[in-house]
């Protein structure tokens, strides 16, 4: 054991000498009486997500499954996007022909500099939280490495309605296993990059993607 570690642990022991030795952490009871499960119907939950994500200046659009390709096409045209990064596991049949996709995979990783030159990225997500309008990425299929949704200035995220949970605790519960078993990195995204550092007025867009579009597929 390092000397520093030893000494810090000793200091802690001395500092806490009034605590009975038989006390276990669980003896300090924590009552989880806050809301852990949502009560909204699926339709209301989806509506809440659309509303809350929209309040962050993200553009949220609801589409049917067969309309995904058209919606991607429309969004990319509106945002003037052609060079897009595509994570491994993303459904290629959704990509319109005019796009110039660059596929990221374990064998051919797009370099940081290359990603910086991209117009945008199109990805899916692991789940979303309606209460806070948050999308959650867990680096799974269709999402890929963390850097993909970071360097390009535009992010188009596709989410299925059944991936939306109502409350924050439900969101954390759903990714718990992946973190514990695989140590997957998790990213929460609530609207585009922003800052309130100048006179506390919120400005959209600093370092992360400055524009975020979300397609909710029903």
């Amino acid at each position: 054991m390092s000397e520093a570690k030893n000494q810090i642990l000793n200091r802690i022991k001395t500092a806490l000498d009034e605590i009975p030795e038989e006390e276990r952490p669980e003896d300090i009871s924590v009552s989880r009486t806050y809301h852990q499960k949502g009560k909204l119907s699926e339709e209301k939950r989806v509506n809440l997500f659309v509303e809350r994500a929209g309040e962050y200046q993200a553009t949220v659009k609801r589409v049917k499954k067969k309309g995904i390709k058209g919606a991607i096409s429309e969004a990319c045209k509106r945002q003037k996007i052609t060079k897009v990064a595509i994570p491994t596991g993303f459904n290629k049949s959704w990509l319109p022909d005019f796009l110039q996709p660059q596929f990221d995979s374990v064998d051919t990783r797009l370099s940081h500099n290359k990603l910086d030159q991209m117009d945008g990225v199109i990805s899916t997500c692991a789940l979303a939280v309606a209460q806070t309008g948050t999308i959650i990425l867990d680096a799974g299929a269709g999402q890929g490495r963390r850097v993909l949704s970071l360097l390009p200035d535009y992010h188009l995220c596709i989410i299925r309605e059944d991936q939306i949970v109502e409350l924050v605790p439900e969101g954390f519960a759903q990714i718990e296993e992946e973190v514990k078993k695989e140590g997957r990195p998790i990213t929460f995204i609530s609207g585009p990059s922003a800052t309130s550092d100048i006179e506390l007025s919120r400005v959209e867009g600093v370092h992360g993607p400055r524009r975020l579009d979300i397609l909710v597929v029903g």
Binding site: A4, A15, V30, T33, Y34, P185, S190, I198, H207
Partner: protein, 479 residues
């Protein structure tokens, strides 16, 4: 390890006056604190279970503090199992040496930093500079403070004391951008362009930690701009400095803290970006991860049973925004990286009460209690303030210099104590005062006292001692 030498910082009273007369500063601060305060009230108001969350947050932190040793060992094991390396640092000097060595091993001359008050606390940037390594602050407000060679003045918004025109002037000069306007969008764009090149070439990133999960080894950084994601994703090596009190027991506990923090801090339902990483992920992000666990006085705080709750703090800054003292003086008057009500209790406990400046901070409060009301982890700040005031008086009695012991207030209180102890002395003092007070009585009140006592009467009017006292009347009454 070098022995701790006492460095005296100026007292709050000495410096607060200068800040109070700076009307530009007061305007900036008043605007900013009121904006965020109102936003917070609204966003917390939409949570029917807010009090339950606060209570759970408080209890979880209490659990951590009472069993900190075992949680730290659990965290170390989890992080190492996930491919990270854990370092232990007793004080700032040791932490800085560990970090400098790690950066040197990577042969990096420049590091990118996420906003971290803990690294401000240990003065990491200075330590790196001495070794020829430039630490680049990437949070917009920290960048502003760094370019201005200024000090942070708020936990969440370190440049809260500067307005947009001041920031434009700074960027025009330091980023060599003469055409820049003062629109916040343009200022943010200037920072984006300047920092993008740096992010892409950085080999080492340095961050603080909002939370570290003992159970899984997961570290969380909560932010808005994306600079935190850049620093924790792009470089090959990531070094995270974490105060030992930032532990939470389990992954599930995020469901409490990740609701409390964003709403209390930026007054948002959720801040734009939260990153959670667990050691090293092959092929994704930094392939080398170091976690530096920092004591630097925290175990002193832990040793005080009343003061211990100070370590519950999750650095949201809600208490700063509601504090009538902070709102008027700003953060610099506190001479600490932790200003406001939380700083007034944390700084003296971290630095020790021997430091005059630190010992003046518990008095920088009207004890109105607004800070406790908004604290998401229910730190009873007024209680700790009063407790520390008591400790300071004891400390002065025990170890005070001759000057402190001859301080008129101290002498006066001692004299009063002696007089109040004995009824004869008390009555004699009344008699003397009655015959001498006519010099100062005007229209039935005493509103001006001479010499050292004038400070007391400057703010208060006194009733003169009456011709007949209660004791006198009691003795002469007819039964």
């Amino acid at each position: 390890m070098s022995k701790k030498s006492i460095q005296h910082t100026p007292t709050f009273e000495e410096t607060a006056n200068a800040y109070l007369t700076n009307s530009q500063l007061r305007r900036n601060l008043g605007h900013a604190t009121h904006t965020i305060r109102n936003k917070r009230t609204k966003i917390v108001g939409e949570m029917p279970d807010w009090e339950h969350l606060r209570e759970a947050g408080n209890k979880l932190k209490k659990r951590v503090m009472r069993h900190l040793g075992s949680y730290l060992l659990q965290l170390e094991e989890s992080v190492e199992k996930a491919g990270g390396t854990v370092h232990w640092a007793r004080d700032a000097e040791e932490a800085n040496r560990i970090i400098v060595d790690l950066v040197k091993q990577q042969e990096a001359e420049e590091v990118v930093k996420v906003k971290s008050i803990t690294t401000d606390e240990i003065k990491l940037n200075e330590a790196l500079k001495k070794e020829g390594i430039q630490a680049l602050e990437t949070d917009l407000a920290e960048l502003i403070v760094q370019l201005a060679e200024d000090e942070p003045s708020h936990i969440l918004v370190p440049a809260i004391h500067k307005n947009r025109a001041e920031i434009r002037d700074l960027f025009q000069e330091k980023l060599n951008n003469k055409e820049l306007s003062d629109r916040p969008e343009d200022l943010a764009e200037a920072a984006r362009l300047y920092l993008r090149k740096k992010f892409l070439s950085a080999r080492v990133g340095i961050s603080g930690a909002n939370f570290g999960v003992a159970e899984t080894g997961t570290v969380a950084v909560v932010e808005s701009e994306g600079n935190g994601r850049m620093c924790t994703t792009l470089p090959e090596t990531l070094i995270t400095v974490m105060g030992i009190e930032k532990i939470i027991p389990t992954w599930q506990d995020f469901e409490v803290f990740m609701q409390l923090l964003p709403r209390s801090s930026t007054a948002e339902r959720m801040n734009p970006y939260n990153s959670f990483w667990t050691g090293v992920t092959p092929g994704d992000g930094p392939q080398e991860f170091h976690l530096v666990l920092l004591d630097n006085g925290r175990t002193n705080v832990l040793a005080d049973e009343v003061g211990r709750q100070t370590l519950n703090c999750i650095r949201c800054s809600a208490c700063l925004n509601v504090c009538p003292v902070y709102e008027r003086t700003g953060g610099h008057a506190y001479h600490s990286v932790y200003p406001g009500p939380i700083g007034a209790i944390l700084t003296p406990q971290l630095k020790g009460l021997e430091d005059d400046g630190a010992a003046s901070l518990p008095y920088a409060s009207s004890l109105c209690g607004a800070c406790y009301e908004v604290c998401p982890v229910k730190i009873d700040i007024p209680k700790v303030l009063v407790h520390l005031r008591g400790k300071i008086v004891d400390e002065k009695k025990r170890n005070g210099s001759i000057k402190q012991r001859l301080n008129p207030e101290h002498v006066g209180m001692k004299w009063m104590a002696r007089v109040f102890q004995n009824s004869k002395k008390y009555e004699r003092a009344q008699k003397i005062a009655r015959s001498g007070q006519w010099l100062f009585v005007k229209d039935g009140t005493i509103s001006k006292l001479p010499g050292q006592l004038s400070g007391w009467s400057a703010m208060r009017d006194l009733k003169p001692i009456p011709d007949q006292t209660f004791r006198g009347w009691w003795r002469t009454r007819n039964e």
